[in-house]
């Protein structure tokens, strides 16, 4: 039963303190939304969770052990990450990029096993990416590149998924598909943490919402409580009015 637990994480980047004592846990079977203003520290936090950034204070644990003590490939089999920027300067095809997601599972041997092929195909299907999987990624649109990147994370078959702004550049249909996919994965037992500005899309479907404010956790609760008007106004400086006839609408597929 692997969970990723952050405990009193503090990170200083340059002269600015980005995170102050942030504690957060993501376990299997839940979809957690991480939201906050620009510069609140969401991306930094995600990078600490996956071990790409060492915190100045506090600890990150994966499955009970400190993340840093995991061997990189074993950790990659448990924890997958989709960062905000996923551009690639060379002409790999989408399929080749998704195949890179199988790296944690592949040994010295060069060939792909049937498990690998199955995982790749499944990931492409879930992201509705078969149509453009064999084109060079440099010819794809931003949204298509994003979907390839998410497919790569899914192909790792990791139980825990961290995603940073995954719905960026995606059109409405594909954004909804992605959110629905993440919800399905959570229902199947994955632990999913999503940092996103897309509150309207995620709020109805997530199990918990965490608001980061000034580098600290402001609230960590079920979405209807966490995203109440007072909290939204305090964290985002925006009034949350009751839904009107026009916008926002609740979109479904």
């Amino acid at each position: 039963m692997t969970a990723v637990i952050a405990n009193m994480l503090s990170v200083q980047l340059g002269n600015a303190a980005v995170l102050h004592g942030v504690s957060l846990e993501v376990g299997p079977g839940e979809l957690v939304l991480l939201a906050g203003r620009n510069g609140a520290g969401k991306s930094t936090f995600l990078r600490c969770l996956v071990g790409a950034l060492r915190p100045d204070a506090g600890s990150v644990q994966l499955g009970g052990e400190p993340t840093a003590s995991w061997r990189p490939r074993a950790r990659a089999r448990e924890l997958a990450f989709v960062p905000q920027e996923t551009d690639v300067p060379f002409d790999f095809t989408g399929r080749e990029l998704v195949t890179m997601g199988r790296h944690p599972h592949r040994g010295r041997s060069e060939g792909l096993s049937s498990d690998d092929h199955a995982a790749i195909d499944r990931a492409l299907t879930l992201l509705d990416a078969h149509a453009f999987a064999d084109r060079a990624v440099t010819t794809l649109s931003g949204g298509e590149q994003r979907r390839i990147a998410v497919a790569r994370a899914i192909a790792t078959e990791a139980k825990l998924l961290l995603l940073d702004e995954p719905t960026n550049h995606l059109d409405l249909e594909h954004a909804l598909q992605l959110v629905q996919l993440l919800r399905d994965l959570a229902d199947q037992g994955h632990g999913v943490l999503v940092a996103s500005h897309d509150l309207n899309l995620f709020a109805p479907r997530c199990d918990r919402a965490v608001l980061l404010h000034d580098g600290r956790v402001y609230v960590d609760d079920a979405p209807e409580h966490a995203l109440c008007s007072e909290n939204v106004e305090h964290v985002f400086g925006v009034k949350a009015a009751a839904p009107t006839e026009f916008f926002p609408r609740d979109f479904t597929l």
Partner: protein, 338 residues
């Protein structure tokens, strides 16, 4: 087609190598070469001692330096472009070539080059390794360095050692022989290569390519951003440092034996990528073969060019490489990908 391309290139290399051995202004020519190769059948006479000496002791080592040197430079360029996530990276940017040029120039100007055939290559190697270490030392802070810092340090040291090389050359101004030797060294050339040069070049290529080859998949992953690579189990920082050192090794052992050769490390990976795509499992051998073919063909051009031109290898590769970049620029302007 893509899978068979390396084989085609291998065939092209064999043809180019045969021409390189056999095609020359003086005897022995292709006939003598063929006669020697098939003399064991008894149908042909083996060529005489003088021809055998020229083929075996002069042309053969020169050919081997061209083959392994060209392959090494192309491999180094491919590795650099992957680790720096930039199709314009080349082995020159971290100061390896500038250091090698400086070391070789020192050896020639102060006369140590005359003490032995291996003195110039060894001093060039020392210069290359020294300058690259300096670049890493300047760029690294607490063991972690950014690509930007590495590039800045590389530019700074390239400039510094370029100036120091010029300074060393001014000591040789009045000594015509030394200054012309340094100039020819800086422009690159494969004349009068001995078997010692060939051993060093071949050894360097084999050693470092064996270190790079198993990491082909890792090179693919390094083209992703560091965070993505990290999440897939690759320590991008450490991998980058190690692979850049292997690229430096490949470059240093080549430039130490051939002087400064431009463009092979920059252009050949591009061409190879155009031919077989960016996956390193196929790209690395393709680039190595293509680099070898290019180097052998360029050296052949140098040897059969009119004598008065004094054509240097580095000049030929630069002249061949520049139009390719103009072509890339034209593609850029039309909005196509680099």
């Amino acid at each position: 087609m893509t899978r068979r391309l390396p084989l085609l290139l291998l065939f092209a290399l064999i043809v180019a190598a045969s021409l390189h051995l056999g095609f020359a202004r003086e005897r022995p020519g292709v006939g003598a070469l063929l006669a020697w190769m098939f003399s064991w059948t008894g149908a042909f006479d083996a060529p005489d001692d003088a021809d055998r000496f020229v083929l075996g002791m002069i042309r053969a080592p020169r050919l081997l330096v061209a083959v392994f040197g060209g392959g090494a430079l192309a491999l180094a360029g491919t590795v650099m472009q992957a680790t720096f996530r930039n199709p314009l990276a080349s082995p020159d940017i971290i100061g390896t070539a500038a250091g090698a040029a400086f070391g070789g120039a020192l050896a020639i100007v102060f006369g140590w080059a005359d003490l032995g055939v291996v003195v110039t290559p060894l001093m060039a190697l020392a210069g290359a390794v020294g300058v690259t270490s300096l670049v890493f030392a300047l760029a690294g802070a607490h063991g972690r360095f950014t690509v930007a810092n590495l590039l800045l340090a590389g530019v700074a040291l390239n400039t510094l050692f370029g100036a120091l090389t010029s300074f060393v050359v001014t000591f040789a101004f009045d000594n015509y022989t030394a200054s012309s030797r340094v100039l020819f060294w800086l422009m690159g050339g494969l004349d009068a290569r001995t078997w010692q040069h060939a051993w060093i070049t071949a050894g360097g290529f084999l050693l470092f390519s064996m270190l790079v080859w198993p990491r082909a998949r890792e090179l693919d992953l390094l083209t992703l951003r560091d965070d993505s690579a990290h999440s897939l189990g690759v320590d991008a920082q450490r991998a980058r440092r190690t692979l850049v050192w292997w690229a430096c090794g490949l470059t240093a052992t080549t430039v130490a034996n051939s002087g400064g050769i431009a463009f092979v490390g920059l252009v050949v990976p591009h061409l190879a990528r155009l031919m077989v795509g960016p996956a390193h499992r196929v790209l690395l051998p393709t680039a190595a073969l293509l680099g070898a073919v290019l180097m052998v063909a360029s050296d052949l051009g140098c040897r059969v060019a009119p004598v008065g031109w004094n054509l240097r290898l580095g000049v030929v590769t630069a002249v061949a490489g520049a139009p390719y970049f103009l072509f890339l620029l034209a593609r850029q302007r039309r909005g196509l990908a680099l």
